[in-house]
């Protein structure tokens, strides 16, 4: 099993530009320490119709109501709302791409918090983006994995989706194939799918899928912090 940078094709070049957008990094940094309700706020506002912050403050009374006065949590809610509306104000196609890049960047940030990754040594793990995984005698997948953890005996392939609707046969097959090909080489490779949506919605989507996913870890909006463990 070997990891390899994705080919710098046209898609990769365009997407690298989106990933490098400072808005993506700012959103991911804020969401990494956010509560579930703050993450739901981000999900709603980034795909909302209104870009008036007053609307969103009223829609989330437990974040912005009088019971949640001045303080770091209120400040974080305001900052998340501001960045989410900045995403929403992009054009429809661009904001869809930016949202996807935010989920990937957030995933990378959380995974980097795992012990052993924060302070890499000679045998420490590395976290990478847009990597392909190659196996002997197996044709390489065209699409790279969004995030990989590359460590002897503890590697992981992670794909990311904005919403449960993004769960499809292709991504489930690709993740499960990687895991089984690794096992064929006596390597350990965990497969995870991060979905910035509620577990209930993911379960509905998964119930319709015949592609293998029993051994793919589904990380939903409620369990994002598990990525750091």
């Amino acid at each position: 099993m070997r990891f390899q940078d994705a080919a710098p094709d046209a898609r990769a070049v365009v997407y690298a530009g989106i990933q490098a957008d400072p808005l993506v990094a700012r959103a991911a940094t804020l969401l990494a320490d956010a509560s579930l309700e703050q993450r739901i706020l981000a999900r709603a506002a980034m795909n909302g119709m209104s870009t008036d912050p007053v609307v969103w403050r009223s829609m989330f009374p437990r974040l912005f109501g009088p019971s949640n006065g001045a303080g770091p949590e209120r400040d974080r809610s305001e900052a998340i709302l501001e960045v989410a509306l900045a995403v929403a104000e992009r054009g429809e196609q661009v904001r869809s791409q930016v949202r996807g890049a935010i989920v990937e960047s957030l995933t990378e940030l959380l995974v980097r918090r795992r012990s052993g990754i924060a302070a890499p040594g000679p045998s420490g793990a590395t976290v990478r983006r847009e990597r392909r995984i190659l196996f002997d005698g197996v044709r390489a997948e065209i699409h790279p994995y969004d995030v990989t953890v590359e460590a002897p005996g503890a590697s992981e392939a992670i794909d990311c989706k904005w919403g449960a609707r993004g769960i499809n046969a292709d991504v489930l097959h690709q993740l499960d194939d990687a895991r089984t090909h690794a096992a064929d080489e006596d390597e350990s490779l965990a497969a995870s799918l991060v979905v910035f949506d509620a577990r209930r919605s993911c379960d509905v989507r998964l119930a319709r899928q015949t592609a293998p996913h029993e051994r793919t870890r589904i990380v939903s909006l409620e369990t994002l912090d598990e990525l750091a463990r």
Binding site: L36, E37, I40, R43, A44, N47, G48, M49, S50, V55, S58, M59, F60, P61, R62, G65, P66, S67, G163, A164, R165, D197, A198, R199, R200, S201, D203, V204, R205, A207, R208, L221, E222
Partner: protein, 103 residues
């Protein structure tokens, strides 16, 4: 139910149901996703019914009536069925956290 008359958690869920039903109807326009849309809406209606059964008698809380009105207006402005599918998941999450429930 008018949002001005929202007093309890059950009132809030009942008042939001019309907007959710309209959202589901719009989302059904995506024919390839019709089954998913109906299953998704049913799953969230079931969750909302659970909360109404368990905590329906409790006070809705400060700001919930306005939150339901604004949430309903927000999804009422959606005219893209693909965005409606995404909001079929988002809407109940926003409603549930407004009444102090985890989705």
């Amino acid at each position: 139910m008018e949002t001005q008359s929202i007093v309890s958690v059950a009132d809030a869920i009942t008042a939001a149901s019309a907007a959710y039903d309209a959202l589901a109807e719009l989302a059904e326009d995506v024919e390839d996703e019709w089954s998913y849309v109906t299953d998704l809406a049913d799953a969230w209606r079931e969750r909302l019914a659970e909360v109404a059964d368990a905590r329906g008698h409790e006070p809705a809380g400060d700001g919930v009536a306005e939150a339901v009105a604004i949430l309903s207006a927000e999804v009422g402005a959606i005219d893209d069925p693909h965005r409606a599918i995404d909001w079929l998941s988002t809407f109940p999450q926003v409603l549930l956290v407004a009444v102090g429930e985890n989705p």
